[in-house]
């Protein structure tokens, strides 16, 4: 049953990714400026320019350019970066591990701490503990990421000298970026967990369990959490893509290599193939996240499996 649902869901990826690829292709071609301008040497003739345009296939019709681009991607060829003059696949391959490492750590950190905080706030409802967690949630979901990153540098790198200011040379350089991205993530996960628990706790079957005389921990871990985790899992899966996107600012402030810093640099240089490649990777990450979320949800909740039949 779950396998059938998963296959259905996987097949849906194909039209969605095709439309995303058209979208990204068109958007990138709307970017103003011409990458050839960045490439051409001063004093070269119009003929040189035409030769360059032909070399990168920019003289073909948009449709043809798209077909060529998408056809090559299936063979793992993202084209060549026009300004950086290297295969885009290489650039992505070089930067992706940094983003994945940062993303995975930030994801694990924010999920675990967020869940614990959310459960604590619910268990300690109507006490000062709940107020503290609610205050933290408010702070975490409002403070701009880049500002938090700067404050972290000021406090932990400049004043205390515990961690390096920037770069990705030592293992300790990842601590501050993870904390920065994690801060907002913890707030989100804690908020969703707390609200979900409050919702489920209001249902009749929970009242019945209390009446039956079950202990509070048993009710919380055996009955409340499995239900409350559904929306949390959705949010967590959606966050896989969001973390990679949110890392853009943080990678920039901490001067870390990664998909985000690559994208920002390429946007500045109007390096179409690199921008396309980065956006495609980020889009794939977002889709993969949604897919994982949907399948986990279906595995956890029979109602969703039945509805899709």
């Amino acid at each position: 049953m779950i396998i059938k649902y998963s296959i259905q869901r996987l097949l849906m990826i194909i039209p969605v990714s095709l439309s995303i690829s058209v979208f990204i292709f068109l958007i990138v071609h709307m970017l103003p400026g011409d990458p050839i301008d960045n490439l051409i040497r001063v004093g070269s003739s119009p003929a040189d320019r035409i030769a360059l345009i032909a070399k990168y296939g920019l003289d073909q019709s948009l449709f043809k350019q798209y077909i060529i681009w998408i056809g090559r991607i299936f063979t793992g060829d993202f084209g060549d970066a026009i300004v950086l003059r290297r295969p885009v696949a290489d650039l992505i391959g070089q930067n992706l591990p940094y983003s994945l490492q940062l993303g995975a750590l930030a994801f694990a950190f924010s999920s675990i701490v967020g869940l614990i905080l959310g459960i604590t706030a619910w268990a300690a409802r109507n006490s000062w503990v709940e107020q503290v967690v609610k205050g933290f949630i408010l702070l975490g979901s409002t403070v701009p990421g880049f500002w938090l990153a700067l404050l972290m540098i000021l406090l932990f790198s400049v004043t205390l000298g515990w961690f390096p200011v920037s770069g990705a040379k030592t293992w300790s350089s990842i601590v501050l970026p993870v904390l920065t991205i994690g801060f907002g993530g913890i707030a989100l996960v804690a908020r969703v967990t707390r609200v979900a628990l409050l919702d489920v706790a209001r249902e009749d079957f929970i009242t019945l369990l209390h009446a039956k005389g079950l202990s509070r921990p048993v009710i919380l871990f055996r009955h409340l959490l499995p239900h409350a985790l559904l929306p949390v899992v959705t949010i967590l899966a959606l966050r896989i893509g969001w973390i990679l996107g949110g890392a853009v600012t943080v990678e920039f402030v901490f001067g870390r290599p990664g998909l985000g810093s690559l994208l920002i640099r390429a946007l500045g240089q109007r390096d179409y193939p690199v921008v396309q490649g980065c956006l495609l990777m980020l889009a794939l990450a977002v889709m993969l996240g949604t897919l994982i979320g949907d399948i986990t949800q279906a595995a956890m909740d029979p109602r969703i499996r039945e509805a899709s039949k």
């Binding site: 709307m30 409002t142 500002w147 700067l150 404050l151």
Partner: protein, 284 residues
Amino acid sequence: MIAAISNSGFGRAFSTPLGVIAGGFLILLVVVALFAPWITPFDIALQDLDNRNTAPAWPHLMGTDEFGRDVLSRVIYGARTSLSVSATAIGISVTVGMILGAAAGYFGGMFERAVMTVVDLTWSFPDILIALIFVAILGPGLTSTMFAIAIAYLAQFTRLTRAQIVRLKQETFVEATINLGASPIHIVFRHLLPNALAPVIVVAMLAIGDGIVLEATLGFFGLGAQPPTPSWGAMMSSGTAQLFIAPWVIILPGVAIAITVIAVNLFGDELVRALDIRDRLRGS
């Protein structure tokens, strides 16, 4: 006017201490932004090269930046930039989003599917990525920042309005109006949209907070407000070079953003409570 506000339900947001503090702060902020030229202690462009990077003290209550300009005055003017850019952007977003959402919800069918597919596509991307792409297309500056923010939050209002319209369409009074032979325009504008308005206004208010953060982030990347225009994000961007010698140039505009966005969120929560629309916000 005051009576109208207090009767509409929006006024009830001021019935708790939290609502008064958050709402009062926001009103104060708007007043300060409007009357910035009369309030600022110093000229925002006045460079005092003998007093560069001085720490907060009298007469520069928030210190000075790398050109000896008064940080407090620039933070006050920054409120003007941030609030007006974010509010205008969300205004555009709400208008376009409501039209798209209402049309999708009312007409349904292929049109609804097409609109919602595109909307859901942008919805799944982080707002900063969408904004970055559109600023890249339109070029840096405040106008493109405005459009980028408007596009980044468009999905939210389209989804919310559509969900409201779909729900309202099933109500008896709407069916009655349709059977009486009213035109679609009449039904949408006279009956559906007015009833869908309250949740949209509250979400718009919260989105202004997100818009302020997004504007600051773009400004920080150097893609938003261009110097010498004072903007909270742009101030921090030029302040990073002085991070070690003049941290107040970065800390204080950030505090301004944080307090403003927190006030927006607290007041938004009070509005949700006052208008009793928590369930309607969930449906989208």
